[in-house]
Assembly symmetry: C3
Amino acid sequence: MTCFFNDLTLLFLNAARAILSNILKRLFKNRYKNYLYIMKWTVADIAKIVEGTVIGPDDLVITAPEKIEAAQSGNITFFSNPKYEPYVYKTGASAILVNKNFDPVSEIKGSLIKVKDVYESFGKILAMFEVRPINEKIQSNLASISPSSTINKDVSIGDFVVIKKGAEIGEGTILMDQVYIGENVKIGKNTILYPGVKVYTDCIIGDNCIIHGNVIIGSDGFGFSRDEDGHFKKIPQIGNVIVEDEVEIGACTTIDRATMGSTLIKKGVKLDNLIQIGHNVVIGNHTAIAAQTGVSGSTEIGANCMIGGQTGFVGHIKVADNTMIQAQSGVAGNITEPGRKLYGYPAIDYQNYLKAFAYFKRLPEIVNRLREIEREIFK
Amino acid sequence: MTCFFNDLTLLFLNAARAILSNILKRLFKNRYKNYLYIMKWTVADIAKIVEGTVIGPDDLVITAPEKIEAAQSGNITFFSNPKYEPYVYKTGASAILVNKNFDPVSEIKGSLIKVKDVYESFGKILAMFEVRPINEKIQSNLASISPSSTINKDVSIGDFVVIKKGAEIGEGTILMDQVYIGENVKIGKNTILYPGVKVYTDCIIGDNCIIHGNVIIGSDGFGFSRDEDGHFKKIPQIGNVIVEDEVEIGACTTIDRATMGSTLIKKGVKLDNLIQIGHNVVIGNHTAIAAQTGVSGSTEIGANCMIGGQTGFVGHIKVADNTMIQAQSGVAGNITEPGRKLYGYPAIDYQNYLKAFAYFKRLPEIVNRLREIEREIFK
Amino acid sequence: MTCFFNDLTLLFLNAARAILSNILKRLFKNRYKNYLYIMKWTVADIAKIVEGTVIGPDDLVITAPEKIEAAQSGNITFFSNPKYEPYVYKTGASAILVNKNFDPVSEIKGSLIKVKDVYESFGKILAMFEVRPINEKIQSNLASISPSSTINKDVSIGDFVVIKKGAEIGEGTILMDQVYIGENVKIGKNTILYPGVKVYTDCIIGDNCIIHGNVIIGSDGFGFSRDEDGHFKKIPQIGNVIVEDEVEIGACTTIDRATMGSTLIKKGVKLDNLIQIGHNVVIGNHTAIAAQTGVSGSTEIGANCMIGGQTGFVGHIKVADNTMIQAQSGVAGNITEPGRKLYGYPAIDYQNYLKAFAYFKRLPEIVNRLREIEREIFK
């Protein structure tokens, strides 16, 4: 039931992304250089950054962006969707970003900043105010780092971090406090691991990844054989997990290592919180999966899929590219045709499910009609 | 499918709660004062505490409470629900709490303690025997505490805890071992964080909260925009999480920070284990949510709701106060009328779902009847 | 939707398990003796171990096993299922295990090793190449160990581990880095706790268990009473969790302590990742439960059950031995007859669910047929 995008994000869908992503890149670079963000700006400062024109006082101090319905003095907000226009006159915001052709019909508390593209400009502003938990020291003296690991001098390591022998950590990567890096783990550049992340032996993580708190990467796949007494015998899980570049993984998500070979999370994949990825699973490039979804062993999900929350996939199936799956669905077989939209348990065509469910709700009435007919013709 | 209340709790529903809650308050106070609980009592000690009359020996030693069907020598148990009467004569318990008007019809192994209200009295006894994992030292010398944090002298801090700059921790709060407190985090009084909890930058937690092991508070909301190539671009998540007073949060639950503003868990909310709370979600006062439920971004759940386990909520909806939702349901739209009971996927009226499902199970038979009719009239 | 067994495992089902389990026992023994595995073998070495005959060069170096469709130079793979025969001639593997009666019909890149039983032999090979994250030191000097705990000299303890007073740890057990062991916790022999596991006060874990990263054992059950204002009052949870021998618990799984008595995970149980086990639950011997399943308080699941992923169980029910439950099902009542196979929400007989769902999908058409009839007879 998780939606991928908050209102704001939706607004961005058709807005100038290159600029936002450049800001993010820059921010990301700043991040591990522990740049101190200026957290107070004047309306004039912001207008300059977004190349906007100020209507009203330009010396007001802005301390945070806020949604228009919640904004108070010191906030900057934005207005674009006409249905929010009433808030323009009610909001306590010190500044409102508006399209350059917008003219208020009554009095406004704060200043207006007129810009060419509200969403593009607001993206810049969000980034300006972003604060990340940054390790204060380049390398904590309270970490346990194997002398036989290879750590770039420009890596940031938090307190009580453990790095085992043979591990390699690339330039600009941040290992926050209480992270565990197993033997021979390889992590690329400019990746951030939040507190409590545990990466088991031999796993590989790419560049520019974001891995949230208490994620587990490389736990054993759930593989057992069963003896004549019905007792389970563990099958050694000797593979690893490979997480490619620009992947984000949500808090407490678990990704099992492969039995042999690799469990593979491809470039640009976004995983939400509390997701289970089984052994030998492959998630295709730029696929997004919402919270609490589970993917069983050896299943391959294609590229550019969007999977709703709490969805389940059986093992050993293939899901085509661009598949969209409604939350809580159960995918029980191969999906060969790309771009389908599915819903249900087991999952069927989205529209078909909705139509069938509409009649499901009316089954008592439908059965009454059936009885009526039976009375009529079998009398 | 998680039920909120164990048998015992149900029994408490109409029992004297004030007394229990006073005991808990006292206990909680003791907790961070590291009071050493006496774990062995005689029947006489307990009778005194619950103001009961002992029938039988009063010098037996009681080491633990236990359910009547499982109780052994050394246990104290209780009897009230008539259907359990056979156990009164079978149990190995050294003592049984009974209502003062109860007279056994045959021999009993242990002693009876006759009391005015069995449940009220048993609540006291449970509290007497409660043991909490308490940090042995007031402040571990193995913690990493920023000199620019503000920590009340009466805070207990475990080993390998990290507290970042600008954090504020109130009187009587317990940070157990391996907890992480990010920059500028504010935590109130008499709150306990169990081992492995991670609280990201800028989040706020109130008084008298209980936060269980490996919970994540403040991870990034799952918000992305999509560029013309279908690649996801991260939207900065610059808000925080606010957890109000008297909230309990179960193990491995994850609560995302807001995109802007705050994700808000209001006073008295109880969250079970492995729950996902999305960005900008609001959970109303005294709402209880069972394990593995997921609430998508920007959804607002009202006050005094009871939500079953593994339920999912889409984003951007409002759920009225006093709503009850059956486990595993999928809530796909606003629920405007308070006090409704819902079930299904998508969720509909509870009774309607059960009726419809009853016919769903009979669909093969129903369709046969339809065929019968068709043969009859289209012959 | 999680399947229990990967392809390979399935192959093992009827293969010589005794041998594999002996290997695992030996391996396990090696594990805490910190045996250094030889990770490079020649074809000749391996042929000797599996008592096979080499066809082709026997001096090629083997660095890892791999699935036949993915194997490259340096890999050893296996061939048995006829449908994979094409890969025998395409694979880049340096060696292929085949049945002794197999004769290739065209050229093969690597060598063949002919053996009596491919699966038995391949099991040995997987075990040969298994590498475990082993603590390099027998006891870290960066751990916080209570002087009043009892720890066998042959226990391995990682960095930043916390062991509280009264804890007892048996011979050969491995506590990996950042593990937390509460007061009076008892852990048996040859058990491994992966990084970040937290075991609350008074819990008991048996011999030969494997507990994966960030698991929580012993968090409070979700038990509350509700006062006249509808506010929840916490019921003290004074019981514990008992995990018997040979249990495996997946990453980020949470097991709540009992209100009174014990939550009980019996011998040989296998739990996947992100599972929720409520207070006072009992899981019977040798039952396997797939990822993201939730079991509500006081429910008892029998022995030798197989439970699919994302299944939910209401509280206070009993589930008979040998029950099989399809993924995502909702079990809402007692299951008294052993060996049933269930599916649905609420769960019904597996075949009945599939039949009913087949008609559910066709409801729009079925209702049209009904209208047709109504037009016909009520005209």
